[in-house]
């Protein structure tokens, strides 16, 4: 009895994580593993039919044209959006860090799109801006320029969604700004005395010192970009000609339009594995380029 009491007292903290543990098992671990199982079946939620083990779903991802295109489009989208967003965010954060008057006002203005950008209202706005007879095209027309048909031209539609996400560079910028404030001013003073130009200072002092934050932003933004759903679903519905059908949209269509849960699960797992590979590459590579100030070397 006494022992039990002692054990209970020692482990009292466990009580506090019970809700999390239940949530983890029921809403994360079980669904996660069950989707691995379903990915090897052709389970259809509507008919309830499943014919047992198959690798076909995985083969399809890399052989069927629609699925292959979706995978490639997702890569294109991520590698277009993330670098643009990060470069822009860092550039603006760098300028804001010069302690100009009104910095807080600018910071707020730049941050507004980030906080509202996920909403459907902003997707609606984007459609109004980039429609074939929308604001951007009529603006260019006033200047006598025939702008591309962003909404109906397969070459431009993906870029339009990309621009929507780059427009939301605010949160990445705020994180960069916080990091830039942490770079000791003495370093710049010393470099200035040595005659280093501002550009030189930026690439030789600023960038190396904020690599942990660059790394952080890179990983989080990549993970987000690979999962983009709202933009293509609301603005372009995956079109024109499937040019904005990203993986997450394809998964949605397979799972919730045709109820092909097996296929959708396999696609989700392919996407998951790709994300894990990128995360792992980032973590592995950080040894070589990320500078942590508290390390001895």
């Amino acid at each position: 009895m006494n022992k039990l009491k002692k054990f209970g007292k020692k482990n009292i903290g466990f009580i506090f994580i019970i809700p999390w543990l239940i949530g983890f098992l029921v809403f994360k671990a079980y669904p996660f593993l069950s989707s691995l199982y379903y990915s090897f079946t052709d389970y259809n939620l509507f008919t309830g039919k499943s014919d047992g083990f198959t690798l076909q779903n995985y083969k399809d991802v890399f052989t069927i044209a629609v699925e292959k295109t979706a995978l490639i489009t997702t890569f294109k989208y991520a590698f277009m959006t993330v670098p643009m967003k990060l470069v822009f965010a860092l550039f603006i954060a760098y300028i804001l860090n010069f302690k100009l008057k009104g910095v807080n006002l600018f910071r707020t203005i730049y941050y507004v799109p980030s906080i509202l950008g996920g909403s459907v209202a902003i997707a609606v706005l984007w459609k109004a801006l980039f429609n074939d007879n929308g604001l951007i095209r009529s603006g260019f027309a006033l200047l006598g320029i025939d702008a591309p048909h962003f909404m109906s031209d397969p070459k431009w539609a993906l870029l339009m969604i990309s621009i929507l996400r780059v427009w939301q560079f605010g949160s990445a910028m705020v994180v960069f700004l916080a990091a830039l404030k942490g770079v000791p001013t003495e370093l710049y003073e010393a470099a200035a005395i040595d005659g280093a130009s501002k550009t030189r200072q930026f690439f030789s002092i600023t960038v190396p010192l904020i690599t942990p934050v660059i790394f952080y932003n890179l990983v989080t933004q990549l993970v987000q970009a690979f999962q983009e759903f709202n933009g293509p679903y609301i603005i372009t519905r995956g079109g024109p000609l499937g040019s904005t059908t990203l993986m997450s949209l394809l998964i949605y269509n397979n799972a919730f339009v045709s109820y092909d849960m097996g296929k959708a699960s396999a696609q989700a797992w392919v996407l998951f594995v790709i994300l894990m590979i990128f995360t792992m590459i980032s973590f592995w590579s950080q040894k070589h380029w990320v500078y942590y100030g508290d390390e001895e070397n």
């Binding site: 669904p31 996660f32 100009l100 997450s248």
Partner: protein
């Protein structure tokens, strides 16, 4: 223009810390100037050149900031203006200010849609699950963070590792199997938004746990120790000491959860099936699908009404948002 100036001044007043830094950075660029009395002609000229260069630099920086800011904010301002325009005027010029202002867009926006849903009702629906989500997420995340950060128990390290691994588990893999799970429970199309609300009670937003643990690590343990000596139990310590101390982080979590939950689109898309129960996100999407192309002022007015609460919350608490995001970085 005068409004902008006012804003600059007020935002300057609230900002205390950078002032010391301004002096510092001035010193960096002024280094060529040595003593004031013994300035030679060349030094004076060099000094003047430096001042000119600094002036140009400052000008360029402001120029970029204002230009980028204008591009950033223009679509939003245009949206507000367009909601007050009539449909023939909306795309006819880039000017965000309506020439012949009309309230038609708003009048049509608040009309009932198909009898049993309108914008107000859909917003009410949104907050009927967003507010429980916020409260449950905050409570369950605080409990979990407290448990992991302040106690050692059997399996602590393994569970902590699993918890952190959840940060990297993308929602896109979970959508399909979670749907099947909730389907088994009979929760799909639930009148009470069960699939949206119930998981929030079980600390499923790993990011917030992580953020709270980071914050807790910075809070000294002495107060808790002395409270323990005074006879407080672990629950009393949590409520009387921990919660007040980590209040800033708790507020940040609540604010971000509020924004994300009210913007959430795929959740309600999957789990809300009856039109009378549609939240604002779905309602706006549907009204766009049915009216875009001919009734833009209505569509834009509807969109604008739907994000007004978020805009108000953001401006009321902008510092908490920005500090929250700087503290650990938040997706978005």
């Amino acid at each position: 223009m005068s409004i902008e100036n006012n804003n600059i001044e007020t935002s300057e007043k609230t900002d205390i810390t950078p002032k010391a830094d301004i002096k510092k950075s001035d010193k960096v660029e002024m280094t060529p100037v040595l003593g004031k009395k013994s300035l030679s002609k060349e030094a004076k000229r060099a000094n003047r050149n430096l001042m000119v260069r600094r002036g140009i630099n400052t000008f360029l920086r402001y120029f970029v900031l204002i230009l980028v800011g204008a591009i950033m904010i223009y679509p939003l301002i245009w949206m507000v203006g367009a909601a007050f325009k009539n449909n023939s005027e909306i795309f006819s010029s880039m000017n965000p200010i309506p020439i012949k202002g009309t309230l038609d867009g708003f009048k049509n926006a608040v009309k009932s849609y198909g009898g049993n849903i309108n914008i107000w009702k859909s917003m009410l629906n949104t907050y009927s699950y967003v507010i429980p989500q916020v409260i449950l997420t905050v409570v369950s995340s605080v409990l979990t963070a407290y448990g992991f950060a302040r106690f050692k128990f059997v399996g602590h390290d393994i569970l902590f590792g699993l918890m952190m691994a959840m940060l990297f588990l993308p929602q896109v893999v979970l959508n399909v199997p979670q749907y099947m799970l909730f389907n088994k429970f009979g929760w799909v199309g639930s009148e009470h938004y069960l699939p949206l609300i119930v998981p929030a009670a079980f600390a499923t937003e790993t990011y917030f746990i992580f953020m709270l643990i980071q914050f807790l690590r910075g809070v000294p343990k002495e107060l808790e120790e002395s409270a323990q000596i005074d006879g407080c139990n672990v629950f009393q310590i949590l409520i009387k000491i921990i919660v007040p101390m980590i209040m800033p982080a708790v507020v940040s979590c609540a604010l971000f959860k509020f924004m994300w939950a009210s913007n959430d689109f795929i959740g309600p898309l999957l789990y809300v099936k009856t039109p009378a129960k549609y939240p604002a996100t779905i309602f706006v999407k549907l009204s766009m699908d049915s009216d875009a192309g001919f009734d833009w002022n209505r569509v834009l007015a509807t969109s604008l009404i739907s994000i007004m609460p978020n805009i108000l919350v953001f401006f009321a608490a902008q510092n908490q948002f920005i500090e929250g995001i700087s503290a650990g970085g938040v997706k978005g």
